[in-house]
Symmetry: C2
């Protein structure tokens, strides 16, 4: 191909010195980092930076002045070329080493470092050059024996295949390397990969040309890579390898000659062999850490005991390691606390809250689904809630498998270690409940053939997994693995607590938890939620003996019959609230009154109906007719929420009494409890008025009976579009409005989250919706309803408390939205509380003005 | 009781003269009407009006000056007292006659009019006085023989029971009458009744005291009531009765002595007996009609041939009679056309459009439900759509009974004469479809026990009605009647056409019809709809053989399989559109693309599934599994509408092709057709873009294949709250927005209309919702979404066409709302089109500024 004349623009390259004009935006981060290392006084070999512009011109055929580049280095020096790009994880072409190595230099090296080292270097150079630059068949150069003969063979093979002798001119070698790297950056696959990581389409490639430090020769000579923390836990500790008589990253190639760095019971170490060199390395790392304000992974070379630092990159790390590093840097005064908080990504926290599959574990994947709830667990397969309870009773860990879950499965989910469903998406019943419980969950695993009746799963590869087989469910990545898999524990350690404490000092929006049970309230407390923002009382009724009494209530023919059943539920419900109030102390608890349609409590199969008929002493046909009559076309849009409260007011009466009696009981023993009672599914002001009148009446009765004074707040869950539009009306009767964004999203879109799974992924793929609106708050539509509701509510009652309590409440974007709308708090599932606290701190730090 | 001194305020009463200050708001309408009769020069006896204030004081114990009142009349005259209130149908106490009649006057009457007449009068006076004023037991005064002895018996009985002699003093009689009437007006029941008719809580009672004209004596003497139109049809014709030697309304008491007024083949008439008197009556009636600008019912008396007019009220009339009268008055130049249009209440029109149970028919009510669709029909009971079709095939009229209807029942509803369901409200599937078809329908008849399996209905009174039994369904009042009942026909006569023509000239908002079939389009044409605003294409697929092909399409495993089934549907669908376009000529047709979830087309019972498995040659388990898999929790919020269009685009492709091929075919034979294609259930702009791209592609292909040019419009059915909020986005891709207020209401409230029936009536009773929002557009909530959508759509595309096509579109209040929002048209079910046209005219007349 034709090569144009060398470029004559200024700044084709820059020698990297402490004062040279090197910028990440023009030269990439590696060049900048090397400059910083120089500024820190570290012994970095001569380095040149080629800016993006120079490399761009190479792709257009305009070469920089290669001879001028080589002229910057010692005569006869070998040089490496490495990519230097803006983004840390945008990738880039592989390094090209040993440029300048030719027959003549080979002969010199034989003299200075010995024949073996020289042959090794030259052979590897010819091989790499042939494969990566001349693009010859790699198989032809696979010779791993190193000898004079193998070098000669490689040179012959190169000549035969490339139809020219191996290039001897260093200038030619450099030019070929630059051109190959520029082209590799331009390849479509590479571009798509980096764009997927957030790189812009026109992201530039810079190159760093560095004089190679060769770890060969007399004294302590070799090369290695070191970091001073664990990538998995972030704990301090010397990690890395060193290999004598080697260069670059040879120590990591697993050939077995590498040694440990610090003293190690497993074998020889640099520290024991060359304590001074190790001390220098330690010192350099400390300089790096303080100077670059980060834990780095350092590439180094020892030349006769002298340390040279070739490169340094941010040490790779898991989310938990990242948190621990950030806290340590702040505690050591290297960075301010604010920066430590900002360095931890909120969404990464969920990895810390649950056990995870060990990153290095072998994974025998049975099938993939959608990551429904993070964490991992191992257990035996069970195919029903009953089986899960039976297993739990015997102390056996189990993974519950269902096609989809319904409220009847909740008690099974509470005791299972993990939940797997065939259907549903991230906001299906299974996923929502599992996240609330902190149980790992994979949903929508429709690669598997589920036979819950025959109690087995068929994997796509034909394997059959039966009840009792041991599997591991990874809810973080959404896969099911065969057998037992090594795990790492949850990391709710001191670093975590410290960071969350800092975050709490910085944030300016409240974070509460959605918690229905005492167990969930305890988790909420563990995660320092500022209260319970949503306690769904109906989950309290799905367990026997309550379920049976609920059914009696539903089947009662009269108000008296219902009242009599409800009276039996009263002490149980009061007990629930006593436990909750006691657990939460002086933090507020928002109790949502009964919400679901009553038919959810009725059996759906013949067996269950028969049992119910026996229990109620009714003919089976009465029971089946009654159940058939209660069936709804669209239960989501049916007789539930406040509609039940208005048409069957005895239920709310009982709940209000339970709440107030619990309030009196718990207030006796500590600070006064001020319960917050929330009315669900409101669409008109009058609904609130009617419920408020009755609840006020119950409160008066309880005050009268007990002689105790207490206060309470009454508010509305805004989850119909109409309630948002009429928030002004409703606010007149409400001390707080809490937006239930799940239902609000369903109704704004006319889309049931239980049914959306069927097409949501196709919709998001086609860009019909930019995101699943059940996962990411739809700011344009649902968000406008939130803003309208907030504004109208506040216009009538300026001090009204505003919050959201839907699934979105744990999502940083939604928290940002609520914060800028001036909401008082968000309430999310307990395991999302840390995420929300941290995200809120980020928002306050990034946009203090609010 | 203590009687206070007579009032000394001015204007305790006013003598009614042409110039006296009589006002409806102070004296009531009867007093005002009598004054108008005087002004017209009619011979009205001396009349006094007691204003509301005077009567109010009576209830407080302050009597007007009774002697002064009586002093206004001829000495010894008898007087009547009648109520005079503001509202025409607010009721009022019964008239008190013959005040002043006592032993002395009786003796005089014996002389002047004969003993029999005098005895009759006196006896009736004592009886009425005893029962209505002295409140004695009516049974004691039931003597119907008239003689000296019976008069004496009545006087004795009165003295014995009332413990005082029958009052002889006319002043005392008048006082008693005034007090009794004032108290009757004040009674709770009377107040509640008139408030139900719209009277305010403080509605006043005026009284009219009139000198009695006694139709006794020599020459042509007697009394009667006359009107000159038929109350049922409004057709001209003398109606009423006259009775010689009688007074007041004796002619109507059915005693048999009354004669006809005009010549009548059935017997003697006033016209033949006393032509001059009759002529005078005719003349008076014409004076009344022109002077009062209304058809009146006149109460008159002949005294020796001389006509006296005692009272006149607006002639009672059915809705159809009212229309005919208004048109006739306008055609005769008595009132302007605008007034004629305003005099006909839009909601009354539906009575004209369907046969009705004759007002005078005997009604043997089996049970009541909710009036779902107006009109009445007689037929034999059938309990399935198949049975309805079988009956229709044999030419037998039938009433289809279902617990509730589903799309599978539509073909049965199309052939049935009436539909009865156990469940649902005015916007249930049954009611909506029935109104569209113009079939009488009663829904929510849950007084009846439905046994559709055993094919019988149990009435609340225990009667059992079996399949084949003849019943009459009255959808206008919402009752089921036993047996055959006399009917009156629909009244789409010349008067109706004339009035509707006038209304069309006056209105300024368009009216289209929702029509899915050729039959409905013909009805729409009959009612002069300006086009079809909503053609729901899915109803076209519920009939075999289409249903079978639909099911094959649904069960196809691949796009090719679906396409192959759709290719077979294409010619049928094209045929549908050719028929529709041809029927509608140059009026626009808006076709909504396929909307319902596919599972609606699948059988729900085992038998149907078995047939389907056989038809598709698949194992039954495949079919049941597939159907089970397609089941949705909330079908209303599931995979339907544009979501199907995006995920299974072949269906819309086929429909677009059918529409365009029909466009080309019909345009060849007449004016070019410009179809309007409407996309249902949109919630995001991208949905519209995706569908638009494909439809544009199909249009290009059809243009290319046929070589024909054609235009079409693409628009969106706005039925999710999000679509309304994002109407600006969506308008960029849409030539029109049509608001589907049914779904919009469902989603704004989070309330399924199919499930709302369970509690809606209780909700409306308790005032939770002021009205059923599916019946009356919720202007505060849903209305705001309409306004926001309209404003945002127009801001992006100022010429965008705006309309509503939900059930509300036929409701005058909703039409007013749309008109003031500047909508282009409303589209309602065909049988609501006349109502909408008339309502629109009313709006334009009442608020011309718009």
């Amino acid at each position: 191909m034709m090569e144009l004349a060398p470029q004559n623009q200024p700044e084709q390259f820059t020698v990297v010195t402490p004062v040279a004009p090197i910028a990440v935006a023009r030269h990439g981060s590696r060049a900048k980092c090397l400059q910083r290392l120089l500024r820190l006084g570290l012994n970095v070999p001569t380095t040149l930076a080629l800016p993006f512009e120079t490399v761009r011109r190479i792709t257009e055929g305009q070469m920089p002045d290669k001879a001028a580049i080589l002229a910057q280095f010692s005569a006869g020096a070998l040089v490496s070329v490495r990519p230097s790009v803006e983004g840390a994880d945008w990738g880039g072409p592989g390094a090209v080493l040993n440029i300048g190595l030719n027959d003549a230099r080979h002969a010199e090296l034989c003299t200075s470092y010995g024949v073996e080292a020289a042959n090794t270097l030259y052979l590897r150079h010819i091989q790499a050059y042939a494969v990566h630059i001349a693009r010859l068949d790699p198989e032809l150069f696979e010779d791993s024996e190193v000898s004079d003969a193998s070098v000669a063979r490689a040179l012959e093979m190169y000549a035969a295949e490339a139809e020219e002798p191996f290039p001897q001119d260093p200038v030619r070698q450099l030019g070929d390397a630059l051109r190959a790297m520029a082209r590799a950056w331009d390849a479509t696959t590479a571009r798509l990969l980096r764009q997927a990581k957030g790189a812009p389409p026109d992201a530039g490639l810079g190159l760093v040309v560095q004089e190679m430090a060769l770890g060969f020769g007399p004294g302590e000579s070799g090369s290695g890579v070191v970091r001073f923390i664990s990538s998995i836990t972030g704990a301090p500790g010397v990690q890395g390898r060193y290999q004598r008589q080697s260069l670059f990253r040879d120590a990591l190639d697993g050939s077995g000659d590498a040694i440990f760095l610090g003293e190690d019971p497993r074998g020889v170490s640099l520290e024991s062999e060359a304590p001074q060199a190790f001390e220098a390395l330690l010192e350099a790392s400390q300089i790096c850490r303080r100077g670059l304000r980060e834990e780095m992974e350092i590439e180094f070379c020892l030349e006769n005991g002298a340390l040279r630092v070739l490169d340094a990159v941010r040490a790779p790390r898991s989310a938990r390691a990242g948190l621990r590093i950030a806290v340590a840097l702040a505690e050591d005064g290297v960075i301010p606390r604010e920066e430590a908080v900002l360095r931890v990504a909120p969404h990464g926290l969920s990895e810390l809250l649950h056990p995870q599959v060990h990153p290095d574990a072998r994974r025998d994947v049975i099938a993939s689904g959608i990551a429904g709830s993070p964490g991992a667990a191992t257990g035996k397969l069970v195919f029903s809630a009953n089986a899960a309870q039976a297993a739990a009773a015997q102390g056996e860990a189990c993974i519950l498998v269902r096609r989809e879950t319904s409220p009847e499965d909740v008690r099974g989910m509470q005791v299972a270690k993990g939940v797997l469903t065939e259907r549903g998406g991230v906001t299906s019943h299974a996923a929502v409940i599992a996240r609330g419980l902190g149980v790992p969950c994979v949903v929508g695993a429709n690669d598997l053939v589920f036979s819950t009746r025959e109690k087995h799963l068929s994997a796509p590869d034909g394997r059959l997994f039966k009840a009792g087989d041991i599997v591991t469910l990874d809810g973080t990545t959404g896969v099911l693995l065969a057998g037992v898999v090594p795990m790492i524990d949850a990391a709710l350690d001191a670093s975590f607590q410290t960071l969350m404490g800092w975050a709490d000092e910085m944030r300016d929006i409240g974070v509460r938890a959605n918690a229905d049970t005492l167990a969930e309230a305890r988790v909420a407390n563990t995660f320092a939620a500022e209260g319970i923002g949503l306690c769904r009382t109906e989950h309290m009724f799905f367990e026997d003996p309550r379920m049976t009494v609920m059914r009696e209530m539903i089947f009662a023919q009269s108000e008296e019959g219902r009242r009599s059943a409800l009276e039996r539920l009263l002490p149980m419900q009061r007990g629930d609230f006593i436990a909750l109030f006691s657990e939460m102390g002086d933090r507020p608890v928002t109790i949502r009154l009964f919400d679901p349609p009553l038919h959810e409590f009725l059996p759906s199969d013949r067996q269950g109906m028969l049992q119910l008929a026996e229990g109620l002493d009714l003919p089976l046909s009465d029971v089946t007719n009654r159940i058939e009559n209660m069936r709804e076309f669209n239960p989501m849009l049916g007789l539930r929420g406040v509609r039940l409260g208005v048409t069957v007011p005895e239920i709310y009466d009982m709940q209000a009494r339970a709440i107030f009696e619990a309030t009196v009981a718990v207030s006796k023993t500590g600070k006064p409890v001020v319960p917050e009672i929330m009315i669900p599914l409101v669409s008109a002001r009058r609904e609130v008025e009617l419920v408020k009148t009755r609840i006020d009446g119950v409160a008066a009765a309880v005050r009268n009976e007990t002689g105790a004074a207490f206060d309470y707040a009454l508010g509305v869950m805004v989850e119909t579009p109409r309630a948002a539009l009429r928030a002004g009306d409703i606010a007149g009767q409400s001390s707080f409005l809490s937006f239930g964004t799940n239902d609000l999203t369903q109704m704004a879109y006319g889309l049931s989250r239980d049914d959306a799974g069927r097409f949501m992924s196709s919709y998001v793929e086609k860009g019909v919706y930019p995101e699943d609106p059940f996962h990411t708050l739809d700011e344009d539509g649902v968000g406008e309803l939130l803003l309208l509701g907030a504004e109208r509510g506040r216009s009538v009652r300026p001090d009204i408390s505003l919050s959201i309590c839907g699934e979105h409440a744990g999502d940083p974007a939604a928290i940002a939205f609520c914060r800028s709308a001036g909401f008082d708090y968000v309430s999310c599932s307990p395991y999302r509380v840390p995420v929300a606290r941290l995200a809120a701190a980020h928002l306050a730090l990034k946009d203090p003005a609010k």
